[in-house]
């Protein structure tokens, strides 16, 4: 990992970041003391199941939670050294679409249905790059070509409903990179798409990342998307990081029993036919209740009595690369 050796300053750095959401009856903590960093040009995948907190982890610092959600944030999330949590609304607005681009899961709901594609693109470009309308227009056409949309001039005259899901997501990506961001945050960008189209979008993101040199944080539940795209993987469970490390370390030799179980749950085209499906028993915990000890303990095959006492800290995985951490003292202290 030459990057860390050079001691570059991380582009994005979350330090003991927690989010508490309040409803009239309960308070839940969907993000619980999470720390990670993203170097310039690096692709970090944040993997977790629904309710693991992966979306809130990334959207809360940018003030992109649904309207009406009351979130208390603790810790720090620094982008280029500046804490996003201490920024004013106008400073955040300048960063979103400027230094940080965001791609949403459902491109249809991220686009305005009654405005033409072209106008939606040029609006952001004029705003963030300070270009004239004509300049913004040709920049928009360039962006559409960049994301693989043919015939950009006539596409710009179309409305979102006239495009297919894959094309809409390409427009969504074009919008998010309009401000030439250093960091792209993509929240489940391929979930709403077919496998063949998903493969196109992953290839596009990889291509853009290389050509524009931007860092990407991709939030997903799909390890298949992670393996072809990410440099680093963070696995979230019940609001906490259970494992983090280089993509090969985490996906080929996962240390945490949850990561192992999750990987086993993805059937491959190489497992012998006529075998049963492998998965995990039980279901993720209810975050409205306080979790003592390890949140994964009730579903874990390696569980020991001490697991329900202390919350496990992220520890270095023995015999693995530096930076490969797992929150499971059982496997770390008693390697098989």
């Amino acid at each position: 990992m030459t990057r860390s050796a050079r001691q570059t300053k991380p582009l994005l750095e979350a330090i003991d970041f927690s989010v508490t959401l309040h409803t009239p009856s309960v308070s839940v903590r969907p993000v619980d003391r999470v720390s990670y960093s993203v170097e310039p040009g690096e692709v970090l995948a944040i993997v977790g199941e629904s309710g693991s907190g992966k979306t809130i982890l990334n959207m809360a610092p940018l003030d992109l939670l649904p309207v009406g959600v009351n979130a208390d944030m603790e810790g720090a999330v620094r982008f280029e050294g500046v804490d996003l949590l201490k920024m004013s609304a106008s400073e955040l607005e300048a960063i979103c679409g400027g230094g940080i681009g965001v791609v949403f899961q459902d491109p249809l709901s991220a686009l305005n249905p009654v405005r033409k594609i072209g106008r939606q693109l040029t609006e952001g470009i004029e705003h963030h790059l300070g270009l004239t309308a004509a300049q913004a227009d040709s920049r928009a056409a360039e962006l559409m070509t960049l994301v693989g949309l043919s015939d950009p001039r006539s596409r710009m005259q179309q409305y979102p409903h006239e495009l297919s899901g894959g094309m809409r997501q390409r427009v969504g990506i074009a919008m998010s990179i309009a401000g030439e961001p250093r960091l792209l945050i993509a929240d489940e960008p391929t979930t709403a798409l077919d496998v063949t189209v998903q493969a196109q979008i992953v290839a596009l993101l990889k291509d853009l990342q290389k050509r524009l040199g931007m860092a990407i944080v991709i939030i997903t539940h799909d390890f298949g998307v992670v393996s072809g795209l990410a440099d680093k993987v963070a696995v979230m469970y019940a609001g906490r990081l259970s494992e983090i490390g280089g993509v090969r370390d985490v996906l080929i030799e996962p240390a945490h029993p949850y990561t192992q179980g999750l990987l086993r749950s993805v059937p491959s085209l190489t497992v012998p036919m006529n075998t049963k499906f492998a998965g995990l028993p039980g279901q993720p915990p209810n975050l409205a209740r306080r979790i003592e000890g390890c949140a994964f303990a009730p579903r874990c095959a390696e569980v020991r009595p001490e697991c329900s006492v202390h919350r496990p800290a992220l520890l270095s995985v023995p015999r693995s690369a530096t930076g490969h951490l797992a929150a499971c003292p059982v496997v770390i202290n008693h390697p098989a």
Partner: protein, 340 residues
Amino acid sequence: MSKPLLSIVDLKTHFRDSRTGADIRACDGVTLDINAGEIVGLVGESGCGKSTLGRTIVGLERARSGQIRFRGEEVLALRGSRGAATRRKIQYIFQDPLSSLSPRQTIGEAIDEALVINGEGNRSARRARIAELLEAVSLPAQLTDRYPREMSGGQRQRVCIARALAADPDVLVCDEPVSSLDVSIRAQIMNLFLKLRDDLGMACLLIAHDLAIVRLAAQRVYVMYLGKIMEQGTSAELYGHPAHPYTQALLSAVPLTNPVQELARRRILLSGDVPSPMNPPSGCRFRSRCPVAQPLCETFPPAAALSASHVAHCHFAGECDLASIKANAFSAPHLVHVQG
């Protein structure tokens, strides 16, 4: 070979576009068999008509033409209570269990209603049957009085399966039964389908876009594209020796979780999206996206029988291997452009 339990013959389901009046040929001449005690996979991209086919089989859409033969009876010709009784033997499992359960019914009430419709008049017999059905889908009996909102996605899908079983069906048509569930929960539901097949001899039409899931569950698989079957075969044939370029492309798009293998393999990236079923390409429907299409493909490809069970509708069935010939041109992402 014995007669299939359910035979679909040249089934067509068309919709009318309200603006232009044109026919949307969602399902356009599909022939498919399901044998007793067999899980049959139906795969394809969204918009290929696989859900329309499933919905037509259970009567949720009206067929334009063709036949649905169930135990030798022509289902489309049956009317009244006779038709209803026959159709009840074919049950449907929806993708989203939350929207297919009433929020105001406890799960006991939901299953009870299905039993009443199926003609079980005795209240205590129904209560005993509810307990049996919950056990069959591995749900604890104390959940009877719970509402769907109090349950997890996996539990809700089990309830939907229990409710379908209440009609004592011979076939389940399952439309993406696990795609709304979390990855770690999917295996629990898929293994339940395997158990129903092995213990009760339940036949299943498994409609899914996830080829890896279908591979483990189904004995035979049909690949559908733009309203037509492109290739069919046993799982071993279809996954081991895919003969149609579309099947090959679909298989190459299945992501691998191992990053070393994923980055090393050659992937066939199909350009663009599925064309509109209002105006499908003439001849082979896949030719507008097919990397090896020739002028010949403008005529409809005949069925090429590669074995008794393995059939591919391609002029070059079994002759081309996309993974090797065109891989270089298609592995460069910047060469992939969306066709208008």
